[in-house]
């Protein structure tokens, strides 16, 4: 696309130098946006290598705090601008999402600027695909919800009313202040949690959008152990997203590699992969995942992310045949094209042929099926945690929330089981919608139902 033309045309850098204004304007905006969150990025990056460096970020909970308390006079102390805790939290959440959407929009603008001013080609087939996406309402709906889900996972520490450390992992090391009977009290968060449990009884329940007795705001209520559910869900979003992305990434890579190899070499390679793939596909997937997660539960891998990484690997290992089957068709089609023969005839190395000529064509399809499978994985992981087999406590996971709230569905604590379920339905539907959108963009003539829907059915709502 850019800069690799060895004809007389200029490289990207030179083209930018020619008309610098659009690029400079865009870079200025990007820099401004980055500054807002620079602290968090630096924190995360340095955290990987040792003790994180603490630079204040504009959108963090320190700048817009909501952990204050209300004096008997009705004034809120230690919250942002003296707003009530709930309002301060809502304000921060809105700001974060606004920021995220602006960043996304700015990146989109950057792509448009590039396309208009700096790209060598006037038009590529990808432009048509992008244009089709722009008009696809259902796909856009999916994209927006998925984006919001990803933002929730990425910004989890800043989004919740409290943090995971404060309320879930280490509640007895933190303190909260509140007014009781006109006096300013101070207890540990752990004690406060014990007093805010939701256990079905209207006296002992903190429902959605309520304050508990300690002046803390709970947008989603609390769970039976008294911890804040929104924080739980946001952290759980991180886990689900992580497992989903890692497993899809790995299985997608394997599926693509196998598809290209079998399409290019055909013959024996194809036969071997077919037999292996079919055999793995015929194992009842959920049962096998359960078995593996228990058997390997004691190994060192399962300590990474409390079993999250292990689960991702297991899903990848059992899932690649479905993805492979889906892209096998397009890969074979591309292998039949004449330019592949042409490449072979002038001695092009197989690896380069596959990378350069075949891979781009199956990438679109891979994205479609990957997106749809992601939803299924989220449901499956939730199902495992529901049974107690997946992510081990205390790492939050949506399925476990449903399990915890099982007994209270018909009581005043219905929110514990209900809200995670609704969120799962929303996110999975969004992933499916996104997949639909990408598929219509990549191949507008493809049918609505495809053979791999059997595969997604296997990982989807039935799990």
């Amino acid at each position: 696309m850019s800069g690799v033309n060895d004809d007389a045309d200029a490289s990207l850098v030179e083209r930018i130098r020619e008309t610098p204004q659009p690029a400079m304007r865009w870079l200025a905006g990007a820099l401004a946006l980055f500054v807002l969150e620079a602290g968090a990025v630096v924190n995360a990056v340095t955290g990987l290598f040792g003790s994180p460096v603490d630079i204040p970020t504009l959108l963090s909970r320190d700048v817009i705090p909501n952990n204050g308390y209300q004096t008997p006079a009705g004034v809120w102390e230690e919250t942002f601008l003296g707003l009530s805790a709930g309002q301060a939290w809502a304000f921060r959440v809105v700001l974060i999402y606004l920021y995220a959407f602006i960043v996304a929009w700015w990146v989109w603008r950057g792509y448009l600027v590039f396309r208009k001013h700096y790209r060598h080609a006037d038009w590529t087939p990808r432009d048509d695909m992008v244009d089709r996406l722009r008009g696809h309402r259902w796909g856009q709906f999916g994209a927006i919800i998925v984006f919001m889900f990803v933002v929730m996972a990425l910004f989890a520490p800043a989004l919740g009313p409290t943090t995971v450390e404060r309320t879930i992992s280490d509640p007895y090391s933190y303190h909260v202040e509140y007014y009781e009977d006109g006096e300013l009290q101070n207890t540990t968060v752990g004690q406060a949690n014990l007093g805010s449990r939701s256990q079905g009884n209207p006296d002992r329940n903190v429902g959605p959008m309520q304050y508990d007795d300690f002046g803390r705001f709970h947008p989603f209520g609390t769970i039976p152990s008294g911890k804040d559910m929104f924080t739980f869900m946001a952290a759980g979003a991180r886990v689900s997203l992580f497992i989903g992305l890692v497993s899809i990434g790995i299985s997608g890579f394997i599926a693509a590699a196998f598809a290209l190899l079998t399409a290019y070499y055909k013959g024996l390679v194809d036969l071997v992969v077919v037999i292996t793939g079919d055999s793995i596909m015929s194992l009842p997937r959920l049962l096998f995942v359960m078995l593996l997660s228990v058997v390997l539960g004691g190994s060192w891998i399962s300590s990474i992310y409390n079993g999250g990484f292990l689960l991702a690997l297991i899903f990848a290992g059992t899932g690649w045949p479905f993805l492979w089957r889906s892209v096998r068709g397009p890969a074979f089609q591309v292998a039949e094209q004449e330019w592949i023969d042409a490449a072979k005839s002038f001695g092009q190395k197989p690896r380069v042929t596959m990378q350069k000529h075949m891979a781009p064509y199956i990438l679109g399809y891979l994205l479609v099926y990957a997106s749809m499978s992601l939803g299924g994985i989220i449901v499956a992981v939730a199902g495992l945690s529901f049974l107690g087999l997946g992510i081990s406590p205390p790492t939050p996971e949506w399925g476990r929330a449903i399990d915890m709230g099982q007994a209270y569905v018909t009581t005043s604590s219905w929110h514990i089981s209900f809200i995670p379920g609704v969120m799962i339905v929303l996110v999975v539907t969004a992933f499916n919608a996104l997949g639909d959108g990408i598929r219509d963009a990549v191949d507008p003539q493809s049918e609505g139902g495809d053979t791999s829907t059997e595969a997604t059915a296997g990982t989807g709502g039935g799990a």
Partner: protein, 343 residues
């Protein structure tokens, strides 16, 4: 190659799949890091008992020897015993007592999915872009995304307190008295079901919520695929030819559209059967139906590896059989099968 030779070929091909699946199970169980003997004995066991059990399980033999023994036993249907969940009971007995409940559940789930999902999908395909089509399609999409264990939890809770929530309708007392959770009372011998309508009704009502949960999950998919299949068939050239011949609409739908639209549905229907094998674990747990999925779950959490290994083999066998059924259905419905290599 004729249709039936193609079918025979597929049956033959399923044997290596069975072998491969069993082998993987063996690998996971025996070669994995879990120690079955400790699971059986518990954390404190004296070394003598440990060795005794090890010998009985054949675990002191070299791995390849164990593998051969394992495969031979499985294929002669010697399923061994359970050691932890119900010690000294043969797996065969356990299966016999647990399986019928799962079969009852599976039967009704598939029925619900097929006889509600497919007609709904066909209706939507025959009347596309109407309001009811949109409602049905949207419902199907959302339903597909729903985790079935969540639906099970909600349904179970609502039904057990139905007087409060469903405006006084008491599910538990309706028709025949049952409680929401617990295994369905299946009479022994099993054909007592058909001779005694009261028992039949009782067993049916007991399993209904679970079957609705499992069935409706697949229903969404079948509806969607059915709708697409009908839409594609309607727009195909041979339907236009039939119209040009003067074929009346009834015959058009039932003779021409139906059979062609069923073809893409076959893998979906059999796909649902796979789901049952896995998904039943969750539903059985919630509704406390002591079915075979629940047994498997118990086996895993208790580390009862001999039980788990044999059960896994049964499941794999089931999957292979379902695949063969799918191929059989294809062979019957679609005369093109095997002609150009099949699907």
């Amino acid at each position: 190659m004729s249709r039936w030779r193609y079918f025979a070929k597929r049956v033959l091909l399923s044997i290596p799949v069975l072998v491969f699946g069993a082998s993987i199970t063996f690998l996971v169980i025996r070669a994995g890091p879990l120690d079955p003997v400790s699971a059986i004995l518990g954390p404190q066991g004296d070394p003598q008992a440990y060795e005794a059990i090890e010998r009985r399980l054949g675990l002191n033999q070299p791995l390849w020897q164990q593998y051969i023994d394992y495969m031979v036993r499985l294929f002669t249907f010697d399923l061994g015993q359970s050691w932890v969940v119900q010690p000294n009971t043969s797996v065969y007995e356990l299966v016999l007592s647990y399986a019928p409940r799962t079969i009852w559940l599976g039967f009704w789930s598939v029925l619900i999915a097929i006889f509600i999902g497919i007609p709904l999908g066909f209706y939507a395909g025959l009347n596309p872009n109407t309001f009811s089509d949109y409602v049905a399609s949207f419902g199907g999409i959302v339903w597909r995304a729903m985790p079935n264990f969540w639906l099970a939890v909600i349904l179970m809770s609502v039904l057990s307190q139905s007087e409060k929530i469903l405006f006084g309708f008491d599910w538990e007392a309706w028709l025949v008295p049952t409680i929401v959770t617990g295994p369905p009372p299946l009479p022994d011998p099993i054909w007592g079901l058909f001779t005694n309508p009261d028992q039949f009704l009782r067993a049916l009502k007991k399993i209904a919520p679970a079957a609705i949960v499992l069935g409706s999950a697949s229903m969404g998919n079948e509806m969607r695929i059915g709708r697409t299949a009908v839409l594609e068939t309607i727009n195909s050239n041979y339907i236009e030819t039939a119209k040009a011949k003067g074929v009346p609409p009834r015959s058009l739908v039932w003779k021409h559209i139906f059979r062609n639209a069923l073809i893409p549905l076959v893998p979906i229907i059999t796909g649902e059967a796979f789901l049952l094998i896995g998904g039943s674990v969750l539903v059985e747990t919630v509704f406390d139906i002591s079915g075979i999925g629940f047994l498997f779950f118990q086996g895993i959490t208790n580390g009862d590896m001999p039980l788990v290994g044999s059960l896994m083999f049964i499941f794999i066998l089931l999957v292979v059989v379902i695949n063969i059924v799918q191929d059989l259905l294809y062979t019957i419905i679609d005369p093109r099968v095997g002609y150009d290599g099949g699907n």
